[in-house]
Symmetry: C2
Subunit: 432 residues, 2 copies
Amino acid sequence: MTATADPEAAANELMPLATYLGSVLRRLVALPPLDLDLTQAYGNVLAGDVTVPHPVPAFDQAAIDGYAARWEDIAAAGRAGSHPSFGSFEGGPRPVRLNVVGDLGAASWRPVRLTPGACFSVAAGAPLPLGADVVVPVHWTDQGMANVEVYHAPKRGQGLRRAGELLAVGQVIAHRGAYVTPAMVAAIASAGIGHVVVRPSPRVVIVATGDELVDVGRPSQPGQIVDANSHALTAASVEAGALAYRIGICDDDPEGLRGLLEDQTLRADLIITTGGTGTGPGDMVRRILSRQGAVEFTDVALYPGAALGFGTVGAEEVPVVCLPGDPGAALIGFEVLVRPVIQLLAGAEPVFRPSVRAHLLETISSPGGLREFRPAHVAERRGGGYTVQPLAGGPYTLSGLAEANGLLVLGERVTHAAAGSTVDVLLLDRRR
Amino acid sequence: MTATADPEAAANELMPLATYLGSVLRRLVALPPLDLDLTQAYGNVLAGDVTVPHPVPAFDQAAIDGYAARWEDIAAAGRAGSHPSFGSFEGGPRPVRLNVVGDLGAASWRPVRLTPGACFSVAAGAPLPLGADVVVPVHWTDQGMANVEVYHAPKRGQGLRRAGELLAVGQVIAHRGAYVTPAMVAAIASAGIGHVVVRPSPRVVIVATGDELVDVGRPSQPGQIVDANSHALTAASVEAGALAYRIGICDDDPEGLRGLLEDQTLRADLIITTGGTGTGPGDMVRRILSRQGAVEFTDVALYPGAALGFGTVGAEEVPVVCLPGDPGAALIGFEVLVRPVIQLLAGAEPVFRPSVRAHLLETISSPGGLREFRPAHVAERRGGGYTVQPLAGGPYTLSGLAEANGLLVLGERVTHAAAGSTVDVLLLDRRR
């Protein structure tokens, strides 16, 4: 178990969070890209721009259900008139009658041509007959079968889509570095593209360390603490877009820990440990991994947080992040450090959660010199804007973290924030 | 392919979206609960409150690394003094010396008792020796091994946690209806709970209908339209928390469609069809499913949207939602109708995405009488607040949808929104 940060320990050698995060991210590169079926690509990050190979639609088509006609044949129906469903127009009705020479559905493929005075009944998506330059909506007509009375003429070119009007050849529809979203899948599939090149979801291995840890499912005795972190960080990794493998508990045995981490490099793009990052005699992870030289521990000006470790394991130099053992500090450490690391490995630009400015409902104090992330409840205000209620007990209260839907951000210089002032809050995902 | 909604078709019988959504949701109930291992429960919705069965911590413990002592023995170290790392206090230094009679780690389990003038070196998480009522932080001492000099006395009770201080027995740490989050996993596991009762993730089957549809991977010919919806709606279902099964394309054959839907009721908690919901001659889904009587089609005052269908299939009465065939209309229909349905089946209270008020960057018009959801790009403004840029081409532009990170909401009465006015925008998930 790691020492929780004592906010009064105003040590001079704390590294600002932004500096630390930058130094970690600079040492990482995105995973190599791979070609995936579009169905499997959702949620991954594009490794290159996606451009349109063929025009969409591939052919001129009706955009609505109606009658495909030559505009010059119906122009006389005029802009003025009246008809059953549209009430009175200026002047009297001047309907135009056309012969309906055929029906075209979206699946019709035989090329057809319009002759003067004729029209085709068309469904949305149907190929446009040659010579047609307008589609009259069904409800602007008497909906006739053999012939049709057109009450009102649309403008030339209305009711149809020209080839390439939705997606033009060469157009970039999805950009490198973007997560593939459902709407992006729609655009990419519509362009006829069935495969995309993305970065794989990072494979993250989670290990909780400490002789005192026991698995969930029973009450803990003195000398035992239930391992919550391996479960919580596994869920957090999945939420961050990773494939997560929970190893569970590893004792504070130097050989055991070293061997376990080496073994896991075979299937891990990132290893997360939790516990033992402090400087006390029981902080074994720091002692074991520092000694190997490949992991560096840093006291970050973060509350809650204490010490964080970053480095690599094994000949493959698999990155490893060491988080504190306190569940609150581990989750905040994940949020500010591991999440950006996973995003970077996945090929995205690391970004924090969306933030809002909110009206603070309760006066709070915060340790000077440390950047504090405090669980809070954000609510929308009637008429716009947000309010934010800090949750009781500060960041170490598990129940507070579990209830929070936001994290109040209190910068290094903030020691006091008064009720009624405006503060920054990161929005956590609470709902699908 | 469904007719796209013609905004000028000011039909009188359109049902307001809120009324329609309410009528659909009232006909559904959440899936029956099941008991899941905590590791598998992340992302599901709790079917009941989770209460704490055992106190956390289970025993009085050190909260920090330091020296566990009897407060009366160190009180004389006083509130005033000076020491190496803390500079000058009022008055002179008055250190107190204690014998260090043992070391306690988080894994120590043997009960020990303090005698006057003695202390134990303790790690955070270690059981508190009987008689100890304060833990002096390491850096308030000379960090001695056999004996220690205490420069400064904390208040009585500081540096420790009493049994149940983090989580008290009977306390509700997670509420019925909440999605299980990583932090909630931490709280539940910390309480020693290894299983929770949740609603399963709804199993959603997605079918695209239409004789004109062809699969991705080739350019479409006249009479062919690439099926984008089955892919996009599968991704959208996963994003909404469902287990999604993509069936792909089903022809407009009445027997084939009926048989397919019946078969899928075996593994579906919800079936989504796309295409054929309009009133044209090619709108087969509406004709086939209306005839059976169990699916009702409604013209909803939604743009884009046209007609939506809702009902049940088969003797098991598996709910089915029928969306239009236009990809934009299908995705908006999913957003406003299917997403809430999935949330309800999953046991959550259906909610829209988080919304913000944003400064509109471009004047736009919107069809009166219809509630419009228009793809838009939302950006945070320096100094707080948001701006929103409607994407070119309106809701039917696939590239616009793919680029959007928000949906402008333009209510039924809005026909015009001026640049500079404040509008509501739903925030889409764009990043992990």
